[in-house]
C-alpha cells in the first residue's frame, strides 16, 4: 500500500509536469469553485434575504392564535434560548374630547420588535428616529392618520378603554404593519403592561395573540418543526413567507432562480470536467498499461489509480474551495452593501459539498476505466485495446451521468426543475446526435463530388472531420450546446424575472386604497380622480359574505387538515361583481360570462382559493350574506397577480347578482406627490371613507425586489463564467487529436491556409449546430420554467436565436482556430515527434 501510495504520488507529479492534468485540474477546480462559491453565496444571500424579511414581521417566526397563546410555546422557546415577545392586536374605539375613532390597537412588550425597528417622531411630518422598544407605561404611539382624524398632538391624552394614556410619539413607520393592508383603522401602539387596566379584552373579544420569536435560522427552523404538531384549534405558525404573501412570491422566485443558477454552474462545470478528462485518461491508461507489462499486480495498479484519483480530487477540491471562498467574498462584499444588515457568516457546509463533488466527479470519470482495466490481459494492454474494449462509449459516461443526475436533484431541490433539466439535456443530446448524423451523411455525399477548387476541397475535408471524430464531435457539440444553452436560458429567465418584478410594481403602481365608499359617494370619488388627473383608478363594489356549503354539503372546517383552507373558508369573503374581467387577471379554467348572463347566479373564483377548498367548475356554493342565502354556480377560475398592489377579489359575480345586498366600494389608485392635501379634504368631507397608505409598504417590497435582482445578476455573471469555461474545455478536448491531424496534413503538403479552412469549416458546423439547438432548447426550457415553475409570463426571443446562432457560428471557429494557430507555425517535424 505504501509502495502504491508512493507510485501514485510520483505518477501524479509526472502527469502534472507532462501537462496531462492541467486541463482536467482546471475544470475540476472550476467545478468545485463554482459549487462552493454559489453554495456559499446563495446560502448567505438567502439567509440575509430571510433576515431582511424578518424585519417585516418583527421576528423570525410568529405563533398566532385567536386565544391566549399557551405558555408551552414560550417555555419551549426559552429552553432553546430563543428570544420571545408577545403582542396583542384588536380593534377598539378611542376617545379624544368629543371625537372618537375606531383604531387597531397593538399592545407590545418592551422588547418589541425583535427584528428591525420602529420609526417615531414628534409630529406627522417629522423625519423621525429609529427605536427598538415599545411605548413606556402610560404612553401610546399613534399613526399620523389618527393624529389627523382626532386632531391630537404629542402630549395629549387619549381615552383607551378605562385608561387615559398620553400620546408620547407619532408612529411614523412600523415595518410589521404592512402585512395587512386591509387593516383600515389607524394604529395605536401601547405597552402590554397597560392592557389589563384598559379592561378592553373581555371574554369573547376578538384579539390576535402573537408570540414573536427570534434566533438563528437552524434553531428557528427546528422550533417550527417541533411546535407545528402541538398546534391546537385556532393556533398557527407564520414565518415571513406566509405572513407576507407579496414578499413570499418574490422570495420564492429569487430562491428558485439562485438554485437554478447554482445547478447550472454545477452541470456546466461537470460537462467541462468530463470533456477535459479525455487526455488525462488516455495518458494514465498508457502508464498503467506499461506497468502491467512490467509485471505490476492488477491490485497494485488499481490501488495506484484509486490513490491518484483521490490525490487529484483532494488537491482540486482544496484549491476550488479556496477560490470559491474568495469568489464569494468578493460577491458578498458587493452584495453586502445592498442589505440593511451585514451578511450572515459563512458555514463549512459549502466546502464539504465542494469536496464531495470533487471526489464524486473524479470517481465517476475514472471508475469506468478502472473497471475496464480489470479484465485486460497484458497482451490486450500492449496492443492498446484498453481504449476500445470491453466497455462501450455510452457505458463509460454512465457513472458521470449518474453523478450529474444526483447533483441536479440535490442542487435544484425541486423535483419539477430537476426532471425538466434532465429531460432537456437528454433531448438536447439526441437532437445534436441527429444533426451530426445528418451532417455525416452530407459529408459522405460531398466526398463523391470532390470539388476542383482547393478551398472547397478543404471545406469538404473539414466537414468530413465531423464524421471522422463522430463520438468526440458529438460530445464536443453537446458540451458547446449545454454551455450556450444555459447562458441563453439564464439570460432569458433572468431578464424576464427582473422585468416581471419591475413591471409588477411600476412607478405608477397604486399607493393608496380607499375603502368604505358608499354608493352615493362614487361620483364624488370619481370626480376627485379626474380633478387630480388620476388615471387607471377603478372603483369596485364589495359585499361581505360567508361560505356556508358546497354542493349542499355544509362547510365543516373543524375536520379539515389544511390550515390555509381552514382560514380561507372561515373568513368573510368580499364578493365583487364585474362585467369584464380585470386586466391583471387570467382565466385558467371555464369561461367569463356573456352580457346575456348578467344577473345569473354565477361566480368566478381565484384559482388558489378554489384549489385549497377543492372547488371545481360547476360546483354550487351557498353564501350567507347578512343573513340571506345566495347560491352561485362556479363558472370560471382565474389566476390573480396579488403582488401588483391592485384591488383584486377571490370571488366575482356578474353584474346584477348582488344588487339586493348592501355593498360598499373599494378603489386603489396612485396618488401623485403633492395631492395628499386634496385627499385629506375628500376624507374630511366624507369621514366614513378610509384611506390606506401603502406607499411605505411598496417601498419595502421594491427595495427587496431590487436587492434580489442584484443578487441574481451576480450569480448570473458567475454562471456565465462557468459557461464560458465549458466552451473552452470543449475546445481543448479534441485539440491533441486535431493537432496530430493538422500536422500530418502539412507533412503531405497541405498549406496552412488549407488546414485553417478545413478546421474553421468543421468548427463552423459545430458552432452553428450547437447554437441552433441550444437557442431553440433555451427558449423552450425558459418557456417551461417561466410559465410552470416561476409563474412569470414568457416571450419567445427570436432575435436572440438569430444573434446567438450567428455569433456562435463565427466565434467558435475563430476561437478554435486561434487555439490551433500557434501549432501551424511550428515545423511539422517537431510536432511529428510528439504525436
Amino acid at each position: 500500500m505504501i509502495l502504491a501510495a508512493r507510485l501514485a504520488w510520483s505518477q501524479t507529479i509526472s502527469l502534472w509536469r507532462a501537462g496531462a492534468l492541467s486541463v482536467l485540474v482546471f475544470a475540476l477546480v472550476l467545478a468545485v469553485a463554482a459549487i462552493t462559491a454559489v453554495s456559499f453565496f446563495t446560502q448567505r444571500i438567502e439567509s440575509a434575504l430571510s433576515q431582511q424579511s424578518s424585519l417585516l414581521i418583527g421576528g423570525d417566526l410568529a405563533v398566532l392564535a385567536d386565544h391566549s397563546i399557551p405558555d408551552a410555546f414560550a417555555e419551549r422557546a426559552k429552553t432553546q434560548s430563543i428570544l420571545t415577545t408577545r403582542t396583542y392586536e384588536f380593534a377598539s374605539m378611542v376617545i379624544h374630547g368629543e371625537s372618537s375613532q375606531l383604531v387597531e390597537i397593538k399592545a407590545v412588550e418592551p422588547n418589541f420588535p425583535l427584528r428591525g425597528h420602529l420609526t417615531i417622531g414628534q409630529h406627522p411630518n417629522d423625519i423621525g428616529q429609529s427605536v427598538q422598544t415599545a411605548p413606556q407605561l402610560g404612553e401610546v404611539w399613534i399613526e399620523p392618520r389618527l393624529a389627523t382624524l382626532l386632531d391630537v398632538q404629542v402630549g395629549d391624552q387619549l381615552q383607551v378603554g378605562e385608561l387615559s394614556l398620553t400620546v408620547s410619539a407619532i408612529l411614523l413607520r412600523e415595518p410589521s404593519r404592512g402585512g395587512n393592508m386591509f387593516s383600515f383603522a389607524p394604529r395605536l401602539m401601547m405597552n402590554a403592561a397597560d392592557l389589563a387596566a384598559t379592561q378592553l379584552i373581555q371574554y369573547g373579544s376578538r384579539v390576535k395573540y402573537q408570540l414573536l420569536l427570534a434566533s438563528t435560522p437552524q434553531i428557528i427552523s427546528r422550533y417550527s418543526e417541533q411546535a407545528k404538531p402541538t398546534l391546537a384549534r385556532g393556533e398557527r405558525i407564520d414565518d415571513v413567507r406566509n405572513a407576507r404573501p407579496e414578499i413570499k412570491t418574490a422570495l420564492d422566485k429569487a430562491q428558485q432562480f439562485l438554485g437554478l443558477s447554482a445547478m447550472v454552474s454545477v452541470v456546466l462545470a461537470m460537462v467541462a470536467m468530463l470533456l477535459s478528462s479525455l487526455p488525462y485518461i488516455k495518458q494514465s491508461l498508457n502508464t498503467f498499461a506499461l506497468m502491467r507489462c512490467f509485471g505490476t499486480q492488477q491490485n497494485t495498479v488499481l490501488q495506484i489509480l484509486t490513490i491518484q484519483t483521490f490525490i487529484i480530487a483532494l488537491f482540486s477540491g482544496l484549491l476550488g474551495a479556496l477560490i470559491g471562498f474568495i469568489a464569494q467574498l468578493g460577491l458578498a462584499q458587493l452584495a453586502g452593501s445592498l442589505f440593511v444588515e451585514t451578511l450572515p457568516p459563512v458555514s463549512i457546509m459549502p466546502v464539504l459539498i465542494g469536496f464531495m463533488a470533487s471526489i464524486g466527479m473524479m470517481v465517476a470519470v475514472v471508475l469506468p476505466h478502472a473497471w475496464q482495466m480489470r479484465n485486460l490481459s497484458a497482451m490486450n494492454i500492449l496492443r492498446r485495446d484498453t481504449l476500445s474494449l470491453p466497455l462501450s462509449t455510452q457505458a463509460k459516461y454512465l457513472p458521470a451521468a449518474l453523478v450529474m443526475v444526483v447533483m441536479i436533484f440535490w442542487q435544484a431541490q425541486d423535483f419539477n426543475i430537476a426532471v425538466s433539466t434532465i429531460v432537456a439535456m437528454m433531448t438536447l443530446s439526441l437532437i445534436v446526435l441527429g444533426f451530426v448524423y445528418a451532417l455525416t451523411y452530407l459529408a459522405q455525399r460531398l466526398l463523391t463530388i470532390t470539388p476542383k477548387s482547393s478551398t472547397l476541397a478543404s471545406i469538404n475535408l473539414g466537414i468530413q472531420g465531423l464524421k471522422r471524430r463522430l463520438g468526440l464531435s458529438t460530445v464536443q457539440m453537446i458540451g458547446f450546446c449545454m454551455g450556450l444553452m444555459v447562458i441563453m436560458l439564464l439570460t432569458l429567465i433572468r431578464g424576464d424575472l427582473i422585468r416581471n418584478w419591475q413591471a409588477s410594481l411600476p412607478e405608477g403602481a397604486p399607493n393608496r386604497f380607499v375603502i368604505n365608499i358608499q354608493p352615493a359617494q362614487i361620483n364624488q370619488v370619481n370626480q376627485f380622480f379626474s380633478t387630480q388627473n388620476i388615471q387607471d383608478a377603478a372603483i369596485f363594489p364589495m359585499v361581505r359574505a360567508r361560505l356556508v356549503s358546497k354542493n349542499n354539503q355544509l362547510i365543516n372546517t373543524v375536520e379539515w387538515q389544511d390550515e390555509r383552507a381552514k382560514r380561507l373558508a372561515e373568513r368573510e369573503f368580499n364578493l365583487s361583481w364585474a362585467a369584464q374581467m380585470q386586466t391583471d387577471n387570467k382565466l385558467v379554467a371555464g369561461r367569463w360570462w356573456k352580457n346575456s348572463e348578467h344577473g345569473k347566479p354565477l361566480i368566478s373564483l381565484e384559482e388558489g382559493l378554489a384549489n385549497s377548498l377543492n372547488i371545481k367548475i360547476g360546483d354550487q356554493l351557498l353564501f350567507d350574506i347578512a343573513g340571506s342565502p345566495l347560491t352561485l354556480t362556479v363558472i370560471s377560475l382565474r389566476k390573480v397577480e396579488w403582488d401588483t398592489m391592485r384591488a383584486n377579489f377571490f370571488a366575482v359575480t356578474p353584474p346584477g347578482v348582488l344588487d339586493g345586498f348592501a355593498a360598499s366600494h373599494i378603489s386603489s389608485f396612485h396618488l401623485p406627490i403633492g395631492a395628499e392635501e386634496s385627499l385629506n379634504q375628500l376624507v374630511k368631507q366624507y369621514p366614513n371613507l378610509t384611506v390606506i397608505d401603502i406607499a411605505a409598504l411598496m417601498q419595502q417590497v421594491r427595495g427587496i425586489m431590487q436587492k434580489m435582482s442584484q443578487a441574481i445578476e451576480y450569480v448570473f455573471v458567475f454562471s456565465l463564467v462557468v459557461g464560458v469555461a465549458v466552451l473552452y474545455a470543449a475546445l481543448v478536448a479534441t485539440r491533441e487529436e486535431r493537432v496530430a491531424e493538422a500536422t500530418l496534413m502539412r507533412v503531405f503538403g497541405a498549406s496552412r491556409k488549407q488546414v485553417s479552412i478545413a478546421y474553421i469549416a468543421e468548427f463552423a458546423c459545430i458552432g452553428f449546430i450547437s447554437a441552433l439547438v441550444a437557442s431553440i432548447g433555451a427558449n423552450f426550457l425558459a418557456y417551461y420554467i417561466s410559465v410552470n415553475i416561476l409563474n412569470i409570463p414568457f416571450q419567445f426571443n427570436f432575435s436572440l436565436v438569430v444573434l446567438s446562432v450567428l455569433v456562435a457560428a463565427v466565434l467558435i471557429p475563430l476561437a478554435a482556430w486561434l487555439g490551433l494557430r500557434s501549432f501551424l507555425n511550428i515545423p511539422p517535424r517537431q510536432l511529428l515527434n510528439s504525436i
Binding site: 470532390t450 482547393s454 471522422r468 503531405f748 496552412r752 511539422p828
Partner: protein
C-alpha cells in the same frame, strides 16, 4: 544540358539549443541525389539521420545552408511554399506509421490526394491499397490492423500521390524481421515500378545495401560508402 539533381543539399548546418547548450547535429553537410536514385543513410541512434531527412523533405529548416529540389530553391521557401512542393513531389513512410486513428485505411490513403483536390482520390486510393494487398481491409481502422498492415497502408498512402521522391524513415523499425522483409520487398518493388527517387534512413545495414548508394552520417558529416 546537364540535368539538375533531384535533391541537392549544400553546407547544411543544424543546431539546437538545450538548456543553454548549443548542440550541433549537422555541420556543413553536402549531398546530391539524382532523379530516380536510391540512397540509404545509416548511422547510430542520435546521429541526426531523421533530422537530415526532415530537412531534405522541408519538414524543418536548417540553421544555415540550403536544400534544392529539382534545381529550385527549397529550404529558403516559406512553410507553405515547402508544403506545396511536398504535396506535389513527395511521399513519406515513417517508422511509427503515422496513420490517423479516426480514419479508415482508405481514408488515410485518400487524405494527401484530397488535399490536392484530386478528382479520383477514392479510385486511386483503392488501387494503391490493392497494390499493397489490402483490398479486403479498406474500411478497417488502424487499431484493427497489424503493424505490418498499418505500414502497408502507409506505403499505399505514400505511392498513391505518385511522388517524385519517397522519404522513408526507418520503415521496418517497428516490425518483426519477417514482416519487415515483406515491407522492404514491397517498398522496393513499388519504387522500381514508379521510378521514384528514394531517400531511406535506417540503421539496418542489410536494408541499406538494397539501395544504389550508401551514406553514413557521423559527427554531423555525411560520408559516402562503398556497398558492403
Amino acid at each position: 544540358m546537364q540535368q539538375s539533381p533531384m535533391i541537392q543539399a549544400q553546407d547544411l548546418h543544424y543546431e539546437i539549443t538545450n538548456h543553454d547548450n548549443q548542440i550541433r547535429i549537422l555541420s556543413g553537410l553536402n549531398l546530391s541525389v539524382a532523379n530516380g536514385d536510391q540512397i540509404a543513410i545509416i548511422g547510430s541512434s542520435g546521429s541526426g539521420k531523421s533530422t537530415l531527412l526532415s530537412l531534405l523533405a522541408g519538414l524543418d529548416v536548417p540553421t544555415s545552408g540550403s536544400v534544392q529540389i529539382s534545381g529550385g530553391e527549397f529550404s529558403s521557401l516559406s512553410e507553405d511554399g515547402r508544403a506545396a512542393i511536398r504535396a506535389k513531389d513527395m511521399g513519406f513512410v515513417f517508422q511509427s506509421f503515422q496513420l490517423l486513428p479516426a480514419l479508415t485505411a482508405l481514408e488515410n490513403v485518400m487524405l494527401p490526394l484530397q488535399l490536392k483536390s484530386h478528382p479520383k482520390a477514392e479510385v486511386l486510393s483503392i488501387e494503391a491499397l490493392a497494390r499493397v494487398g489490402l483490398s479486403h481491409r479498406v474500411q478497417h481502422y488502424p487499431k484493427q490492423l497489424s503493424g505490418g498492415e498499418q505500414q502497408r497502408v502507409a506505403i499505399a498512402r505514400a505511392f498513391a500521390t505518385q511522388p517524385s521522391i519517397l522519404f522513408a524513415d526507418e520503415p521496418t523499425g517497428n516490425l518483426d524481421s519477417t514482416t519487415g522483409q515483406m515491407i522492404i520487398e514491397l517498398l522496393f518493388k513499388m519504387n522500381k515500378e514508379a521510378g521514384t527517387t528514394l531517400v531511406l534512413v535506417t540503421h539496418d545495414i542489410t536494408l541499406a545495401n538494397r539501395c544504389k548508394r550508401l551514406f553514413k552520417l557521423e559527427h554531423g558529416v555525411l560520408l559516402e560508402m562503398a556497398q558492403v
